[in-house]
């Protein structure tokens, strides 16, 4: 090796060492975009954390138990609002194509804050407190959700195909949008149907 080749080797080693020494500066000055796709997971399960325990048939007065869960993968801490709603087969459902929530009022709401990568779960205990039945219809007048009685008047007609009075609990996920400074529908919902019997 001649002197020029040694000079080149010295320069290369110096440059590499200088780059290694400069790495912490780059770390604090250059911010890379978040690599992960931003989304939220939402689930509803039966009391044993399985779908086998779904309360698909409810007697008036009996208690149904559901587990509601959310996992934040939005890459930032999120302010979530989970709206529990109740409807019969003809009342409006969230529009999955337009991404719009159901216009029905909430039965119950959960507000909570979740850091990125964290999971939140809660119980949703409900029972039909008061309902009247005729041969062709069922009128639910009151539901108890997590110990709070809520009055309503929701009628379901007898379903000739399924032979029962079917109602649906559905849970819409909303989140706080810092840009608009308001809660907006996150275009996610889960639901279960339950047949109410005397």
């Amino acid at each position: 090796m001649n002197l020029d080749q040694y000079r080149a080797a010295f320069l290369t080693i110096t440059l590499v060492l200088a780059l290694i020494a400069a790495a912490p500066i780059m770390n604090v000055t250059v911010s890379l975009p978040s690599p992960a796709e931003a989304f939220s997971e939402l689930w509803v399960l039966g009391s044993n954390h399985t779908i086998a325990e779904y309360p698909l048939q409810m007697k008036v007065g009996s208690v149904g138990r559901l587990v509601l869960g959310i996992r934040n993968n939005m890459n930032y801490p999120v302010y979530y609002l989970l709206k529990a709603k109740f409807r019969n087969e003809t009342q409006p459902f969230p529009d999955a194509i337009k991404g719009e929530p159901s216009p029905l009022p909430s039965l119950y709401e959960f507000r909570f804050f979740l850091e990125n990568g964290k999971t939140w779960e809660t119980w949703f205990n409900f029972s039909i407190r008061d309902a009247s039945f005729s041969q062709e219809s069922c009128l639910v007048k009151s539901i108890v959700v997590n110990g709070t009685p809520i009055s309503m008047n929701v009628t379901s007609l007898l379903s000739p195909v399924k032979n029962g009075f079917y109602y649906q609990f559905f849970f819409e996920l909303w989140l706080y949008d810092s840009k608009t400074q308001s809660l907006r529908y996150h275009e996610r919902f889960v639901s279960i149907w339950t047949n109410i019997v005397q």
Partner: protein, 159 residues
């Protein structure tokens, strides 16, 4: 001429009904405005915690406090929905208080985190820059010595 007793009684009953209705309407207005206040307070508090987290503060404890405030606000909405206005006002005020305290703590934490981040940034810049200068100097000195040694060795070999 004094009014007949019947007219007076009807007047009193009417006044009582109007005052009860008025009180109910005022309570509903108060509950709605307290809910709005609590809602805004919670959103502002979330913004402050979010900013503190971005500044590098550990916001786990604050997130738990926000959770409490959110739970209380949900409870306030539920009480409002079932017609318990005093209960709704009570929970909304509690939520507002928790949110306000959390916001203050988040702002303090953000300031601490920001000054800590600035200190860390300058420390990093200074130590890295110093390291680069030392590496370049050491490399130059080593190169000079090596070159002298190489040239002297070449002269010996030529002789």
């Amino acid at each position: 001429m004094p009014p007949p007793k019947r007219v007076l009684a009807v007047g009193i009953v009417f006044a009582v009904i109007v005052s009860i209705a008025l009180r109910g309407a005022l309570a509903a207005d108060e509950a709605a405005s307290t809910l709005e206040l609590a809602e805004n307070s919670l959103a502002s508090s979330y913004g402050a915690v979010f900013d503190a987290g971005k500044a590098g503060a550990n916001v786990t404890a604050l997130t738990r406090e926000l959770d409490n405030a959110g739970f209380l606000l949900s409870k306030a909405y539920l009480e409002y929905r079932v017609g318990n206005l005093s209960g709704s006002i009570y929970f909304a005020e509690l939520s507002h208080n928790v949110s306000s305290e959390t916001m203050l703590r988040a702002m303090q934490l953000k300031e601490i985190a920001a000054s800590e981040a600035a200190r860390r940034f300058w420390l990093t810049v200074i130590t890295s820059s110093a390291s680069i200068i030392v590496i370049i100097l050491m490399s130059y000195i080593l190169w000079q010595r090596f070159r002298r040694w190489y040239q002297s060795r070449s002269r010996v070999l030529v002789r």
